[in-house]
Symmetry: C2
Subunit: 358 residues, 2 copies
C-alpha cells in the first residue's frame, strides 16, 4: 500500500474534522521503522497489578495482584517502586537468566524525574538507561533494547515500566482526597507494573521491527481526555509502520494500542479509515480491555502500566501459545506536564511501536 | 590495569569515609562499555547560553548568548523551549544536512515530564525518543545515538538538552521570588542548551565508545549539594570505562565530568585516587569551568545544560582544532525528584559517558 492512499479521505465529521484533511494533504513520508536481522527474543516477563486490575478481564493473566493500594508502604510512591521491583526481578527470574548476566535496565515511568525507575535501578545494580515517553515508555524501551541486542552490543536487556492510580492522579490532576468529579471521557490510570527481559539468544517471541514515533499535537488541552489527544499520534506511527513494512492492518493477528481507551480507540478507527487503513476486528486497545464495563472506569485504563501489564500477561501468553503469530504493539503517550497545560500549552503525543512475532 | 587495583585504598578520610571501603571491597566487575567499529562523526553542534554563562570563561566559545532571562516569552519554561529550539536547529544548520534527513531526535531535560524536549520535538517534526538522565542526559543521548548509527539503523541523529536556572530552582528548590539563601556548597543551574548532530558519514570528531552507568547512591539527601552526591557515580562509571578499555587516566587528553562543581570534582579526585586511578591535570569538570570565581556561583555550574554547552562549544572546538585527540566525557546526573527527597529518600546518581576522538 502506497503512502498516496493517505490522500483519499477528506470528509472527517468528528473531533478532528479540521485537522485530518490538513494531515492528509501535508503528510510527508519519513522512514521511521527499523528491521532486525537477528531479532531478539522475549525470554522473561512479569505483570503485576492492583486490585481493580485483578478484578478486570485481564486479571486472571496477571502474575501478581496487590489488593492494598500502598502495599504496606507509607506512600503510594513507595508502593509504585515495590511493584516495579517485583515485576523487574520477576521477569529476570522467569527467564532463568542470572541477574548478573542482565547487561542493561531500560525503564521509565510517569512520576516527575522518573523516580520509580531510578530507585529500582539503584537497588538492581544493573547499568541503567532512563527513558521518558509517558505511556509509550514500554514500547520505546522494547524498541531501544531490540536495537542494541540486534546489533550485538549486549546479551540481555530488561525493560520495565510502572504506574499507580493514586500517584498519577495527584501529580497530573488532583489528590484523591479532593474528591474531584471525573468527566465521562476520563480514563483510569492503571496501578500496575510490567517487565520484559529480551535476549540475543532464547526461543521466545521475537521482536522483528521497531517504529519511532513523531510528536503529534492536534490542539487538545484537556488533561482528562487523554484518549482523544493520543489517537492522532497512534495513527501517525501506525501509518508509518504500514508504509515502512509494506503491510496492511489485515497482515497482523493483533494490532494493539496502549491506552487510548474506548473513546480514543473509536477515534483512531475513524482516523485510520479516513487515512485508507481501516482497522478490523484484529485491533484492540489495552486501555479498552483492562477494566470491565461494570468497574466504572469510564473510557478504560491509561498510564504506562496499562499496556505494560496487558502485553506482559494476556498478549505475550497468547503469542507464546501460538494464538497470535504477528502483533503490532503501539503504545501511546501524552507528553505534557500539568505545568505546561496550566501555562496554556496543548498536549503533544507520541506512539512508539514494536512488531512481535511468534 | 586490572580491576583488582581497586582494592588498594581503604583509608579515605573524607565525606564518604565509610562508603569508600565498602565500595572497594564489594565492587564487582561488569562490562559497561561498548565499542564502535563504524564510529559516528559529530557533524554539527550548537551551544546557547544565558547572560551569566556568556560572561563566564566559556562565554566566548558559545554560539549565542541571551541576556534576557525570558527571551521575550511570558514564562521561563517557554524561554527554555526557545533555547533548545535554537540549539537543535542551529546544530542541524551548522552541519549542512537538511532537516528532512535527520532521522531521529534524542533529547531530555530537567523539567517534569521533559516537556521542553517534547515541545521542541513537536515543532521539529523529526521522530523522537525522549530520555531522562538528569544532568547526564547529553551523554546518554550521545551514547544511544552512537549505538544506532554504528549499527546502521539511521544516517543522522540529533541529540540535545537544555536547562534554565529559574525553572530548575522553582522545581527542585524554591521559586526565585522566595529569596532563599544559598549554602556555600550550592551550585548554579546553567541557563543554556546544547545540541550535537551525529552522522554515519562526515569528517568530524568520532564517538568511539560509550559507557552506561549504574545508579550509585551513597546516602546524601541535600538538594543543594549535588556535586558530592554525584561524585561516586562518576567514579563508578570512569572505573568501568578504564577497565573495559584497558586504559588509564593518562591515556586521555581530557577527562571531563558534567557538573560536579568545585567540591564535587575535588571529591571525585580523592575517590579516584583511593580507587587507584588518580586523575591528573587532564581532568576538568564542566561545572567548575563554566563560571568565573567572581560570579558568585559558589561551587560552579550544574544542570543538563552545563556540560551540553561546554562540550558543544569549548571542548568540541578544541577537538576539531586538534588540541585534544582523545576525550572521555562523563556527564553526571542526580535522579531524585523534590518529592522523593521530601518523602525521605536519598539521592540516586548516575554517570553515562562517551569517548570522543579527533
Amino acid at each position: 500500500m502506497n503512502v498516496k492512499t493517505l490522500h483519499k479521505g477528506n470528509n472527517c465529521d468528528f473531533l478532528f474534522k479540521d485537522k485530518m484533511p490538513e494531515f492528509l494533504s501535508k503528510h510527508e513520508y519519513t522512514r521511521q521503522t527499523i528491521f532486525f536481522n537477528n531479532p531478539p527474543s522475549i525470554v522473561g516477563k512479569m505483570a503485576v497489578g492492583g486490585c481493580k486490575e485483578g478484578d478486570g478481564p485481564v486479571g486472571k493473566y496477571l502474575d501478581k495482584v496487590h489488593c492494598e493500594d500502598k502495599i504496606g508502604e507509607k506512600t503510594f510512591e513507595k508502593a509504585e517502586i515495590d511493584m516495579l521491583t517485583e515485576a523487574a526481578t520477576g521477569a529476570i527470574k522467569s527467564s532463568g537468566i542470572k541477574k548478573e548476566d542482565v547487561d542493561l535496565f531500560i525503564a521509565g515511568d510517569l512520576l516527575n524525574q522518573i523516580t520509580s525507575s531510578s530507585y529500582v535501578a539503584r537497588d538492581l545494580g544493573i547499568p541503567y538507561a532512563g527513558i521518558y515517553s509517558a505511556c509509550s515508555t514500554m514500547s520505546e524501551g522494547l524498541a531501544l533494547a531490540s536495537m542494541m541486542l540486534n546489533a550485538g552490543y549486549f546479551d540481555n536487556i530488561l525493560c520495565a515500566t510502572v504506574s499507580h492510580f493514586a500517584t498519577a492522579e495527584r501529580q497530573y490532576r488532583y489528590p484523591l482526597e479532593y474528591g474531584c468529579q471525573r468527566p465521562p471521557y476520563a480514563q483510569w490510570t492503571v496501578t500496575g507494573a510490567g517487565a520484559t527481559l529480551l535476549s540475543r539468544g532464547g526461543n521466545g517471541p521475537k521482536i522483528t521491527g521497531a517504529t519511532f514515533g513523531k510528536v503529534v499535537d492536534w490542539g487538545t488541552n484537556d488533561l482528562n481526555n487523554m484518549g482523544a489527544s493520543m489517537a492522532p499520534a497512534a495513527m501517525s506511527s501506525l501509518i508509518a509502520m504500514f508504509n515502512d513494512t509494506g503491510t496492511e492492518p489485515d497482515d497482523f493477528d493483533l494490532i494493539l494500542t496502549g491506552d487510548l481507551g474506548k473513546l480514543g480507540s473509536d477515534i483512531l478507527r475513524k482516523l485510520m479509515s479516513e487515512a485508507g487503513y481501516p482497522l478490523g476486528q484484529n485491533y484492540i486497545d489495552c486501555g479498552n480491555m483492562v477494566y470491565g464495563i461494570d468497574q466504572k472506569c469510564y473510557q478504560g485504563g491509561s498510564g504506562c502500566g496499562c499496556s505494560a501489564t496487558v502485553v506482559n500477561s494476556y498478549v505475550l501468553d497468547k503469542v507464546i501459545s501460538g494464538e497470535y503469530k504477528k502483533v503490532a504493539y503501539f503504545a501511546t503517550g501524552a507528553l505534557m506536564s500539568a505545568q505546561s497545560c496550566y501555562q496554556g500549552e496543548t498536549i503533544p503525543c507520541i506512539s512508539h511501536g514494536v512488531i512481535i512475532e511468534a
